[in-house]
Each structure stands twice: as structure tokens, then as C-alpha cells.
Amino acid sequence: MNVDVFEDERQHHFVLNMGPQHPSTHGVLRVLLKMDGEYVLDPQPVLGYVHRCHERIGEFKPAKAFMPNVARMDYLGALIYNQGYAMLLERAAGIEVPRRAEYIRVITSELNRIQSHLLWYGAYLLDLGAFTPIMYTFDDREHILDALEDVCGSRLTYCYSRVGGVCKDIDDKFIERVRAFIERLRGRFPMYEELVNGNVIVQRRMQNVGEYTPELCARFGVTGPLLRSAGVEYDIRKAEPYSVYPEFDFEIPLAQKGDAWAAFNVRFREMEQSLRIIEQALDKLPDGEVMAPKVPRKLKLPQGDYNCSVEAPRGELSYYLVSDGSDIPYRIKVRTPSYSNLSVVPEVCKGMMIADVVTCMGALDLVIPEIDR
């Protein structure tokens, strides 16, 4: 926060305070912009407005009881956060998860990913000034939320995974609904492509805005669709396969240029791949239990430190847990993708126009509670 208005002797520069209440920061992010007219000289994100000490809370209660907290870190990727945390504890305690439960986790996680991308798609276009697309994506998203509500019991901050499986089996109605949704969304993609992706204003607004190079991404730890839009084929689902992902046939959408337009397209194509995964998982869905038979009520993790990474909608999510042998973790650290992704803003947005800063930050797909935890 080294912004001094008076350091410039001509005093042409001034500081614009974008946020914490601003329509396009999507939550309580604050960015201090040092401006020269329309141009941003020095953007500085200011964090901490929704810090809730989740990691600290984790040090005071049994490891199993931390599950609802992780869902509240990223409200758009709660199921994936659930899955990752459950996998961490299973890895630590050496619990084998039934295959059916793994499949269900993958199906729900991928639905969650599509849901997150759909919301981002609408909200991003809202940032660019197009009001209508968000209504259409919300319409699609509603089908996912309804289906997930039936099995998970909630619509946003799910707590579905348990150590050793999932809390409730899916039924035929859910499968039918998801299949219908896959059909529906596939039918909608051409419409989105024609109306939005093909629009010349959309393209001109996004092209050549905020170009990422693989080096820059490596320097700041940028992961997820942004890294893939810079041409790096890195997706935890393929790079460090977890759960039953190796059994499915899917691609990692890639782009080369690393600008907002590339990120936009990568995310858009990821939804199609997620649909493919869900379809295959529904076809192959094995029968059986959804909970491991012997999960102790009081889960004591052996002494040591454990790590587990999953691919969240916004990038690499990894949990790090240090156990001292009791049922309460000694330390939990969550590496959330948006935090690292946001850290490139001061570097990338230097010298941009204010409208481009909005475009650039929208392409990051920030979820603020995940940054602040």
C-alpha cells in the first residue's frame, strides 16, 4: 500500500478506491488504483475484509468437524473443497473409499465445476456491461442446484463428502435429472457461442488484455484455467490423478496467448469436458456402498504431515495438515487458487485502462471468501 498521492510533483495522479463495495469486485475486495486519467499506474489489492480465521478454527476442533468450514471458503466450489478435504483425511488415516462413493464425488464435483463456470460466465459478461447473459446462465445453473439440493441437502455451501465416502447415495431421479441437464446444456452451448463468444465487442474487449506468460504464472503461482490459457498443460486431474479421474476420457482445453479472451475460451470449453466426465461416470457408475465400513467416530490421525491437492474451478487447491497424533490437527493450511491468482494483478494491470482492469480481474474469476478464508 505504498501509494502516495503527492509523490508526483505535477500531481496529475490520484488514487481511486475500487471497493470494498464496487459492482465488479464481486464481494469485498478492495483495490487501490493509482490513476493517471483513464490509465492505471499502480493497482494494489487490499485483502482481509471477509477473513474468518478458518484455518485457525481448524486447530481447535476434530479434523472431521472441519468439513463444513472448507465449504464456506469457496462458495462456488464447495463440493470440490469437500472432496479434497475428505481425501486428505482418508489419505492420513489410510481409509479405503468405496468405488461408488468415488464416482459420486466425481459426478457432483464436476457438476459443481460447471455451476461455478456458468456463474462466472454470466458475471464476467456483467462486468463487461452485458446484462442479459447472466440471466441465461443462472437459468442453466438452477438445474444443477436443484439436482444437487436433492442429494446434498443444500444449494451452495454443501457438506456432502464424509471421511470414507459420501453421506447419502444418489438415486435414479438424480441420474435422470443430470442426464437431462447434460442434454440441455449441450443444446445451449451453440447459443452462447453465437450470441456472446461471436460478438465483436466481446472479442475486442477481451483480446490482448492482461497477457500471461508461463514464466509469470510460475512466478506468482497462478494455476487453473489461467495457467492453461497461457499454454501450460497443467491440470491436477491429469498431472497428479486422484480419485477415479484416470478412468475417464477427457481433454484439457488449452490456449496459447494467455489474455482474457484465452482464459474465457478455456473456461468455456472446460464446461464441455466436465459434461463428458459426468456422462462417462453415470454410464460406468458401479453398485455398492457409499461409505467405508469402519470409520472410527474419533478419527485419530497418525503423527506426521499430510498433503492433498485437487483441481478446483479456479486452480490448484491444496490442503496441508500437520498432526500430532490426536484427533485435533496441529495445523491446517489451505492453499487456495484465487489468492495466488489475484497476486498477479499489480504486475499485469500496470498501465491498463480502468475498463481493462475490470476485464482482467473478471478473467481471474475471483471468489473473495476463498482469498481471505
Partner: protein, 326 residues
């Protein structure tokens, strides 16, 4: 009203014309407010206002009452007199252009022989209002909006005027009635380039999306009217709607033959019906693109004007002059 031209003394005529313009301003704001919300709703697969009255038809009246009852918040370090003056400057002049528009063969306030210049002059007063409002609010976002509004309005007035000037050269008159009567063939067919240029400039002049940069919501929260609430805000809104209507009327008069159209049987007000239909068709167009396209960036908007619209309108004007002289 139809015998007005022949019998009424000038003073009564004037009063009636002004009252008529006032009614039109508020009526248009109501119709447009409702139309915009309803259309936006249907574009977005929702219903729009439905609760108040049949299909929400009374919604705007309720909203009006709410806005009037709301507290006018003046920011702490705002320049109070200027802050209050800005909405008035924005709203007050919008009555005047309506007086010279020929709505039908008989309904027209005054047939001014420099009507076009008069209208454009009045329309440009709006820039002052936006600038003053943005400056006096003592808010950086408002100031940004004001800066942008000035640059945008000045830039787009030029191609707008040049495109209309091509038609003035063809008809040899600035009077709207003269231009309307000169159209045996609608000028949209004779001057398609001028029409397209005018259409784009019209959107930019009225600060509507995709060129609504002075109030770009996602960048500048609400631009120049960030700090305005209640009636002050609604004065800005009404001025915007009226400016849209005026711009649509100019387009109707210049390019679509004004009142001309297929005569409707048993009805002597054919002219005004056609006129309003055409004008509201343009309004529909403005609403339609607002809810379809994203916003352009500021430098793109300026490039569009200076690099494309201005040269094309100049060339168009030149060709028109040469053809007319031949």
C-alpha cells in the same frame, strides 16, 4: 388542437404547446420506463414488473412516488448549489426541442426555420449538466463519468451533424417540416450511410449502452450520477429518456419520412400515429441493443468516432454535395 394554427392567438398557442411538451416529457418517461423494464424482462426470459396493476402497468407511478418521497442525500463535501443545479440543467432544456418537432400535419409548436440547429444546440446543454453534476458530487467516479461524457458528446456531435447536413443539402432547409415534406422517397433509401452514422451517433449521444461509458456501471459504479438519489436522479433519468425520444424523432423526420405512411381508414390522425410508431421503433431499437451488447471500451468508442464515423460522414457529405450540384 387541429385548428390551433388557424385561430388561436399566439400566446394561447404558446402556452398550449408548452403544456403539450410537458405532458409529452412525462408521458414519454412513463411509457419508456415501463417499456424498458418490460422489454428487458422479456429479453432476459423473465416477466418484468407484474405486481402493481395489470402486468405491472402502474409500476412506474409507484416508483415515481417513491423517488419523490426519498431523501435527497448531498455528499459532505459536495458543491451544494452546483450539485442541485445539475439535474435541473439536465432536465429543463428537454422541453424545448419538442416544440419544433412536427408530430403531424397540424400538431407542431413552432415551425422554426433553423429547427435542426436549435435542437442540436439545446441537446448539447446536457453535457454541461453531466459535467457539473460529476464535478460537484466530489466523487472520483462521478468525475470520471463527467470527463468521459464530455469527450464522448463532443466527439459524436460532429458525425451526427455531418450526417444530417447531407440531408440538409438535399432539401435546402433546416426546417423539420420542410425536410419531412421534401421526402417523396424516404431518405433512408437515398442516404443509407448517413442513416447508419446517425444511428450510431444517436446511441452515443444519448449515453445508452453499448456506449453508456459516462455511467459505466461495472467500472464507475454509476458514473456521473453515483451520488444522486431520489428526485435528482429521476430528473437525470427523465432527461435521458426525453433525449432518446428527441433523437428518435429526428431520425424519424430525417430518414423515415416523418408522418408519411399508409393512410389508416376512418381516422384523421394517421400522421401522428405513424410518427409515434416510427419514433418508438427507434426507442425499441435503443432498448434492444442496450440489453444485448456489452459495453465498449473508451478508446474503442473514440476510435470508432474519429477513425470511421467522421471520415465516412465527410465523404458522404462530399458525395451528396457533388450529386446535388450536378
Amino acid at each position: 388542437m387541429e385548428t390551433l394554427n388557424a385561430f388561436a392567438p399566439e400566446l394561447i398557442r404558446m402556452i398550449i404547446a408548452v403544456i403539450g411538451a410537458a405532458v409529452l416529457v412525462f408521458g414519454n418517461a412513463l411509457v419508456m420506463g415501463y417499456m424498458e423494464r418490460k422489454l428487458a424482462g422479456h429479453f432476459q426470459r423473465r416477466t418484468g414488473p407484474m405486481e402493481v396493476g395489470f402486468h405491472g402497468i402502474l409500476q412506474l407511478i409507484v416508483d415515481g412516488i417513491k423517488l419523490m418521497a426519498k431523501q435527497l442525500v448531498i455528499p459532505a463535501k459536495a458543491d451544494k448549489p452546483l450539485y442541485m443545479l445539475a439535474p435541473i440543467i439536465s432536465f429543463a432544456p428537454v422541453f424545448l426541442p419538442l416544440l419544433v418537432i412536427p408530430f403531424s400535419d397540424r400538431i407542431q409548436g413552432f415551425d422554426l426555420d433553423v429547427a435542426l440547429l436549435f435542437m442540436l444546440a439545446i441537446a448539447s446543454v446536457n453535457v454541461f449538466a453531466v459535467l457539473i453534476g460529476g464535478w460537484a458530487s466530489n466523487n472520483k467516479y462521478s468525475m470520471f463519468g463527467a470527463f468521459r461524457a464530455v469527450a464522448q458528446s463532443i466527439a459524436y456531435e460532429i458525425p451526427m451533424l455531418l450526417s444530417l447536413l447531407a440531408i440538409v443539402f438535399m432539401t435546402n432547409t433546416f426546417s423539420l417540416r420542410g425536410i419531412m415534406d421534401a421526402q417523396n422517397v424516404w431518405f433512408i433509401f437515398l442516404q443509407p450511410v448517413a442513416f447508419l452514422i446517425y444511428l450510431v451517433s444517436m446511441v452515443a449521444e444519448t449515453n445508452r449502452a453499448p456506449f453508456d461509458l459516462p455511467e459505466a456501471e461495472s467500472e464507475l459504479t454509476a458514473g456521473f450520477h453515483t451520488e444522486y438519489s431520489g428526485m435528482a436522479f429521476s430528473l437525470f433519468m427523465m432527461a435521458e429518456y426525453t433525449n432518446m425520444f428527441i433523437a428518435s424523432c429526428i431520425a424519424t423526420v430525417f430518414f423515415l419520412g416523418g408522418t408519411s405512411g399508409i393512410p389508416l381508414p376512418y381516422f384523421e390522425y394517421t400522421g401522428i400515429i405513424w410518427f409515434l410508431l416510427k419514433a418508438y421503433m427507434f426507442m425499441f431499437f435503443l432498448v434492444w441493443i442496450r440489453w444485448t451488447f456489452p459495453r465498449t471500451r473508451f478508446d474503442q468508442l473514440m476510435n470508432l468516432c474519429w477513425k470511421y464515423l467522421l471520415p465516412f460522414s465527410l465523404v458522404n457529405l462530399l458525395i451528396t454535395v457533388v450529386v446535388v450540384k450536378l
